[in-house]
Amino acid sequence: MARIGVVTFPGTLDDRDAARAVRLAGGEAVNLFHTDASLQDVDAVVLPGGFSYGDYLRAGAISRFSPIMEAVVDAAKGGMPVLGICNGFQVLTEVHLLPGSMIKNDHLHFVCRDQVLRVENADTAWTTDYEAGQEITIPLKNQDGQYVADERTLDELEAEGRVAFRYVGWNPNGSRREIAGITNERGNVVGLMPHPEHAVEPGFGPDSILNGRRGTDGLAFFTSAVKALVATG
């Protein structure tokens, strides 16, 4: 069975949801703590959302120096699938596994809503169960969610198909080029601000016109990784 580690930092909120998403996708969730130096032989890692070290300095700025992150960086460079959600995405940019950074939302407000995204790249380790161009609805909740990078980096991301997700309908934080999530060159490291782990179970997901709280559009992140890991043994 695919073993997927979920890291808990001081202030992480969504580790349990992420672990549950892993289990619902057919994987085994392994709890990892920020002080651990070992990844306990997991096959993939999720850095969940919430906060870390109060985010007083910058979101994710201090957690990136934690012992577990050294192991995550080594594993990611070796090709291990790593997914960073919200604060986890911020950690991935701070530790330079993904380019750019997040600053305060352009309107300065905390946003919490069901957000429509377009899956731009369905070839990453976390998106193969989607179709390219597919629109999905998953929750978004952040105050520091405005994705920024210099123009050259943005052009590179676009040219290399590394914009993995784009906001549709409304850009909720002023992100450059409506970018909601990106991937590294190899496609094993993916980060996004919205929360797929909150849309994995009927009854607890986003609303739609037809089905109250039935949205499970986020589950395919986790099934994508589980399938790939089982296939590679």
């Binding site: 940019t93 210099d150 002023g174």
Partner: protein, 82 residues
């Protein structure tokens, strides 16, 4: 006690939503004549004893690698204040 002060500012080309909000509030409160505001951070690193060149170099290193994110911020000054 000697203190090393590190000033960090958002890069000029990066939108500064906080500075913009403060800038918009100033005239509402009757503070006129300011064209724009940018908001940065000031870190005070207090030192036991003297500030050596080595300590100053360490402070500069910390400023570049941890206290600021070079993607969105510039370290504009690292100075010693007694």
């Amino acid at each position: 006690m000697p203190t090393i002060v590190v000033h960090v500012m958002p890069k000029p080309e990066i939108l500064d939503p906080q500075g913009k909000a403060v800038g918009a509030a100033l005239p509402r409160l009757g503070f006129e004549g300011f064209a724009s505001v940018r908001q940065g951070k000031r870190f005070e690193l207090t030192v036991d004893g003297d500030v050596t060149q080595e300590l100053l170099a360490q402070a500069r290193d910390a400023a570049e690698t941890m206290l600021s994110n070079p993607v969105i911020e510039d370290v504009v000054a690292v100075e010693v204040v007694d």
